[in-house]
């Protein structure tokens, strides 16, 4: 079994991570997962969060013409530890009349959802803790637990401000989850896989960054904006708007329980920056690496008819990965010069089993040329390429985190109704339209495995369409704002001045 060999070090296949099933889970793997849990989740990630917090304080200070923390240690580098000690020796108070079990459960749930998201991120080759075939779906589903934890925090505190914050938070999270997921759909379409490892591999060895296409640019910005809203950061930090509702859902939290919320928030920031990097910025790959990745060529061993067969016989032995992920593609050029891309599901001996069962009118004789995006030689020391990939990955992640600090230091908080109409009237239509534009890009560039000219054509076509879609959506929204009587805008305060929520909070 190749998997056991890989684990014991005899066959170091440079696939980002190998998929595992119960039969293949052995002691070595348990040890590896244990190592991930203890080193990563109790050491590295909290440390990253600590210094991201310090960086935010420093950067925000520079934006406001201050110096920032510089007293504890050299350049204030020990400040996070001072904060941590302060948080941990503070008394944790559960308000009288609050539901103590739920009150304690809520911050833990926040932290769980933030940590679980990080479990499928491929940080480098062999550095994805688990590579689930439906990893992206897993990420979306575990991050949706955050809404529940915010609700529980607000509800269990028995405090009106907490409850108001929770209501805002849950409404915001539920609304922005839709454009967030929809903006990711083009990536799934283009890479043909839900596995984050396959998505990175497609960008690294085949397509180049998905950002470099008009629908990709739009999708990336939609993802970034809705992700900022998902983690409740400025300008979307209404659930904890201190000028309106004290501290929102965590008003009643003190000491380390508040610290857990804090940790969860910054872990989420880190996680969504990792997600954006993985999906649109090609993980640890360099900007144009995908375009210059060479091709390896092979010959067909038997004629092939795509409308009938789903397996291809090849005269290739070691050039293809032992366990091709679902993102692995091959291109066949037949003697007539037609070119077609196929997704590979798995490999049986010398045959590649294709993923798609869609009937494609494509025939190839034995003289046809099969080419695949060339990956680094499978005997190459892939640990060395990690030396480049991991810094590149983290450089992208920390740049995105910096962008979020930048936005936070620049933009004021949006109004509640503006927040909601932005999600429903701007983000959702744009995300839906983007899926259609993305299919055009798919048909022009990715399915026929087009070269430079088809990329140029696709840039022109989808560029015009994307710009048009953005212009139309914003124009309609502006008109609807104009048509609205400013007095008629929906607010949470009725015209007579009573809070609409007063009726529902009477029980407190």
């Amino acid at each position: 079994m190749a998997h056991f060999e890989m684990l014991t070090g005899t066959d170091l296949t440079p696939i980002l991570a190998q998929r595992m099933y119960y039969e293949q889970v052995d002691l070595v793997l348990w040890f590896r997962w244990g190592l991930y849990l203890f080193a990563g989740f109790f050491g590295v990630f909290p440390l990253i969060v600590a210094y991201v917090v310090l960086a935010e304080r420093k950067i925000a200070a520079r934006f406001q013409d201050r110096i920032g923390p510089n007293r504890v240690g050299p350049f204030g580098l020990l400040q996070p530890f001072a904060d941590f000690i302060k948080l941990i020796i503070k008394e944790s108070i559960v308000p009288k009349g609050a539901n103590s079990f739920v009150h304690i459960l809520a911050p833990i749930l926040t932290l769980i959802s933030a940590f679980l998201v990080l479990a499928v991120i491929p940080f480098g080759i062999g550095l994805a803790p688990v590579d689930l075939p439906s990893g992206l779906l897993y990420m979306v589903s575990v991050s949706s637990i955050a809404a529940l934890s915010i609700f529980l925090a607000g509800w269990s505190s028995r405090n009106k401000y907490s409850l108001l914050g929770a209501m805002r938070g849950v409404a915001q999270l539920v609304s922005y989850e839709i454009p967030q997921v929809m903006s990711v759909l083009p990536v799934i379409l283009w890479s043909g896989s839900l596995s984050l490892v396959s998505i990175v591999q497609t960008q690294q060895y085949d397509q180049g960054w998905f950002l470099f296409s008009p629908p990709g640019i739009l999708g990336f910005f939609l993802l970034l904006i809705s992700s900022i809203a998902e983690v409740n950061r400025a300008p979307f930090d209404l659930p904890e708007a201190e000028s309106e509702i004290i501290a929102g859902f965590h008003t009643e939290y003190s000491g380390m329980r508040f610290g857990l919320f804090f940790l969860g928030e910054y872990l989420n920031v880190f996680a969504i920056c990792c997600l954006s990097t993985t999906l649109f910025l090609g993980g640890g790959s360099l900007p144009l690496q995908g375009y210059f990745a060479g091709e390896s060529h092979h010959m067909l061993a038997a004629p092939f008819d795509a409308s009938r067969q789903s397996t291809i016989k090849l005269n290739a032995h070691h050039e293809f990965p032992e366990n091709p992920s679902t993102g692995f593609k091959i291109h066949i050029t037949n003697s007539a010069g037609d070119k077609e891309a196929f997704q590979v599901s798995h490999r049986v001996g010398n045959e590649l089993v294709l993923m798609a069962n869609r009937p494609v009118e494509f025939k190839a004789d034995t003289n046809s040329r099969v080419s695949a995006a060339a990956r680094p030689s499978y005997a190459a020391p892939w640990h060395l390429s990690n030396l480049l990939m991991i810094p590149v990955f983290f450089a992208k992640v920390f740049f995105l985190i910096f962008v979020m600090f930048w936005i936070r230091a620049t933009l004021p908080r949006v109004r509640v109704d503006r927040l909601m109409s932005f999600a429903w009237k701007t983000m959702v239509p744009l995300a839906i339209a983007n899926i259609f534009v993305a299919t055009i890009w798919f048909e022009i560039v990715i399915r026929p495995a087009g070269g430079f000219t088809s990329r140029v054509i696709a840039w022109i076509v989808t560029g015009i369409l994307t710009a048009g879609v953005v212009a139309i959506v914003f124009r309609i929204n502006r008109n609807s704002y104009k048509a609205n009587d400013p007095e008629r805008r929906p607010t949470l305060i009725s015209r007579s001045g009573d809070s609409l929520l007063a009726a529902t909070t009477q029980g407190l």
Binding site: S134, Y138, S141, I145, A147, T326, P490, T491
Partner: protein, 192 residues
């Protein structure tokens, strides 16, 4: 070990289900329900159906439970202190419906002949020898579900979509901003 895990999980899940039924506080009942949904997701993982597990968490915890909480928050006494015990005829009706569901599930799980003849399970494209057939079935699960949804089950799929659209339109109509009524202003009720 898997067996022991299964038994432990199932026992926990049963306790959570009982808690859902017997909890007097509405929010507590909802929390028990969330725990139960999570146990179901764990069972899917034990069956190596991780796609289903992710969908279970996404839909039942991420959407249904949150919507439930929304319902409690916006309509009821917010602390959820009031009891939810049904009495009299409703209890009888509930027992009847629960019994019917149990009979259907019992027959379905034990392979009731007239029903099993109705449909054929979709075939998984299992041809590999490089990894185990189970592993291949897991790999092919997402494409298989997608393909079946768009071919065999396209009519039920579209019907469900129509139903959801109808519900969405209904919700919008109910929550629409009424210009004559000064107090009903929050027209932007979020609908996932």
């Amino acid at each position: 070990m898997i067996q022991a895990l299964f038994i432990a999980l199932s026992a926990f899940g049963l306790f959570m289900a009982l808690g859902t039924v017997f909890a007097r506080n509405l929010v507590h009942a909802a929390l028990y329900l969330v725990a139960f949904f999570f146990v179901v997701a764990c069972q899917f993982v034990l069956l190596e159906a991780e796609f289903m597990a992710a969908i279970q968490v996404l839909i039942y915890i991420g959407a249904v439970a949150v919507l439930l909480m929304f319902g409690i928050m916006l309509t009821r006494n917010i602390t959820g202190d009031e009891t939810t015990i049904v009495t009299g005829q409703w209890r009888l009706l509930g027992i009847g419906v629960a019994g019917a569901v149990m009979i259907v599930l019992f027959l379905g799980i034990n392979g009731f002949k007239p029903w099993t003849d109705l449909g054929v399970r979709p075939e998984f494209p299992v041809t590999a020898e490089s990894t185990t057939p189970r592993g291949q079935a897991i790999l092919a699960m997402t494409p298989t579900v997608g393909r079946e949804m768009m071919t065999r089950y396209v009519v039920p799929f579209e019907l469900a979509g129509l139903l959801l659209t109808a519900a969405l339109v209904g919700a919008v109509v109910l929550a629409q901003y009424d210009r004559t009524d000064e107090t009903s202003a929050a027209a932007e009720s979020p609908q996932p």
